[in-house]
Amino acid sequence: MEVAAGNEAELRYAREKMDNASTVGPPVHGHVQEHEHHEELGFWRKYIFSVDHKVIGIQYSLTGLFFLLFGFTLMMLMRYQLAFPGSPIPLVGNLFGQDKAPGGIMLPEFYNQLGAMHGTIMVFMGVVPLAVGGFGNFVMPLQIGAPDMAFPKINMMSYWVYFLGGLVMLASFFLPGGAAQSGWTSYPPLSVITATNGQTMWLIGMIFLITSSLLGSLNFIVTIVQLRARGLSYMRLPFFVWAQFVTSFLLLLAFPPLEAAGVLQLMDKVAGTSFFMPSGLVVSGKIVPGSGGGNPILWQHLFWFLAHPEVYVLILPAMGIVSEVIANNTRKPLWGYRAMVYSVVFLGFMSFIVWAHHMFMTGMGTTMSAFFQTTTMIISIPSVVILTALLLSLWGASIRFTTPMLFALAFLPMFGIGGLTGLPLGLAPPDIHLHDTYYVIGHFHYVVAPGTIFALFAGIYYWFPKATGRRMNEALGWIHFWGSFVCINAVFMPMFIQGLGGMNRRMYDGGAQYAHNAPLLKWNVMIGFAAWGLGLFQIPFIINFFASIKWGKVVDRNPWESTTLEWSAPSPPGHGNFLTEPVVYRGPYEYSVPGAAKDFTPQFEPERA
């Protein structure tokens, strides 16, 4: 009798817990019954103008990957000019025509176009669409147990507006005079007085991209707040979802000021206003016409008010992906999950008040400098907390060295180098020496390239089985990882040496005209070969990616033996995602629970009475 009573009490407790959980979650009716008799959609509705978050996520990912490759190709061309200034580009040099590269030798204007567009494409059309539009769209609704995004049509629109923005940017290369050539930061007055129309196209393209990210980010926030599965409270969210949540707020609130700035610069370009044009500006011996009275520094404030949070838009989803991969492959809970969540929220908040550390050279005064130096030092604390928590998660684990784990592990020291080399730049005195040198290039590329992009590769290898039902090849993945890891460090490490030596970052000839650069020029040749080598090592990835869709090893729902909700759906999930309505019973990373039968206890596994 006593035993039975005990069981009954336990059962009642479990039921109560379930009832509590059921107050937060979608109603029981819904997609489950619908799933039985959904109509077959035609090709266009299913794959092109789809409202399914998974298809849109894959569209974003493929487009983002294309732009990453395209932006990287621009850089490989620039690297030839830097390694061997003034010599014709082999193989492809003659394809660019007389106005860009006569006789295969790159013109300075073309070099500037490549530089400006490399930055723009990598940030706004490559990394962010892949990290947020791609992974966020595909993984986030699955991880919170939602049937789709909250606004599927807005989701589709967000992709197609991004696509249009990308087309406008690409088309600008074919204008007379070519694409924008004033750097990805587009500082006026230079960007306004440049006579070609590339900058106008750049601004129009940016307005498309900003609109797209606005639509995407509000959709993400509503989805995370409204469509979490029954029992999935905020502190049970996988860290990846938290990262996307904070990222979406950054996109929602930081991008509009750049949209405003873009509109103002567009007015300067096409309506002859002088928002950013000072009075009495003289270019090539002539006074620039216009009413004057504008303020070039204003652009920098508006631009960096977006572009600093943008840095965290680039890094937070990467941290999210790395957290998922590390928890899964260490077979341990993340160390300090709560501290990580609080840190990521604090990081998002602080990222709005550090922007002017990009502007120490504008003479904005010591009080302003002191404020922004302080906030910059403060914002490094939550980043260090997250990185430390990830590092400590490795302690005492029996690590599975799968391909996604290799990339995730490499992220830690790479982001560490990128972050630590940023500290001198956040303080005005060393920044005055280092500003606009290759040191800066090395610093932010360590954060974004071997940092974020490696994390994105980890994510691709990790969620590929969910998207396709097949695994990618481990041997090719291994070649891809080690080749990329060695080459990418050979690209960026020498840049610190060049930058500390005072080499300017925007030199068409690599700085050969200055005597102090003489001992630094040899590195340009090495960086060039490392960059082209890096290009070669992407070939195994491209082959692996496409071949695995057709011939990869077939897997079931949960090939990595993971704990989060996306692994309870079929691989690949159908429209509506889950076969039965998902219910969450526990936190996201219950690996190696003492006394459990297996080393992972999924969120969706009911508790045994």
């Binding site: 109603p27 997609h31 599927p152 959709n219 926030i221 409204q226 509009p256 309506a271 928002f275």
Partner: protein, 194 residues
């Protein structure tokens, strides 16, 4: 497949998806106009002199009352739905649309007057910010009119199928419309009076 909480509220958040969505959208709009108003302040503080009396205060004041009136009719359009008075709803929504159009006509006369004198946005920093701010605000008015036009025309069918959802949509349109109105309430003193 059906997305949960498109019409009914989620119990723990007390919100339907669309309500949260429109508020987030408005938050982003606040940042957009916030950046533009900041631009105005910075340019004005840095200017050697700032023109006064360039604009017709009476036309601006008329437009202020037109927009405030349209906000009232917008609320009435929503409230009549809640009281199940379809004919009244139609009347108020069409009235709102007409007031928005009247605002634009008024604005057209103001613009035309400046341009006739050759004083476009290129003429001075003041006119540059005037045309940019009121132009963007005007685009928002047009956007609102497109949405209202949709609910007067093809979107009205939804009322027969799902009354609550239709009323929600009018409510969200109203929230947006009040925001556009509010922006003008800031624009009028900043540009016409100060």
């Amino acid at each position: 497949m059906e997305i949960p909480y498109t019409v009914e509220e989620r119990p723990d958040t007390g919100l339907a998806n669309g309500k949260l969505g429109i508020w987030l959208f408005l938050a982003s709009e606040v940042m957009l106009f916030g950046a533009l108003f900041s631009t105005y302040i910075i340019l004005r503080v840095g200017a050697a002199e700032w023109p006064h009396g360039e604009l017709n205060v009476w036309l601006g004041m008329a437009n202020t009352f037109i927009l405030i009136g349209s906000s009232v009719t917008m609320v009435m359009a929503w409230a009549s739905l809640k009281m199940n008075q379809w004919a009244k709803h139609r009347m108020y929504l069409i009235l709102t649309f007409a007031l928005a159009a009247l605002f634009l006509v008024n604005k057209y006369f103001e613009y035309a007057d400046h341009l006739r004198r050759g004083e476009g946005p290129w003429h001075s920093t003041f006119l540059a910010i005037y045309f940019t701010l009121t132009g963007l605000h005007g685009i928002h008015i047009v956007g609102g009119m497109i949405v209202m036009g949709y609910f007067i025309g093809p979107g009205a069918k939804l009322w027969k199928k799902n009354q609550e959802q239709f009323a929600n949509r009018i409510e969200y349109t109203g929230l947006y419309w009040h925001f556009v109105d509010l922006v003008w309430i800031f624009l009028f003193p900043v540009l016409y009076l100060l």
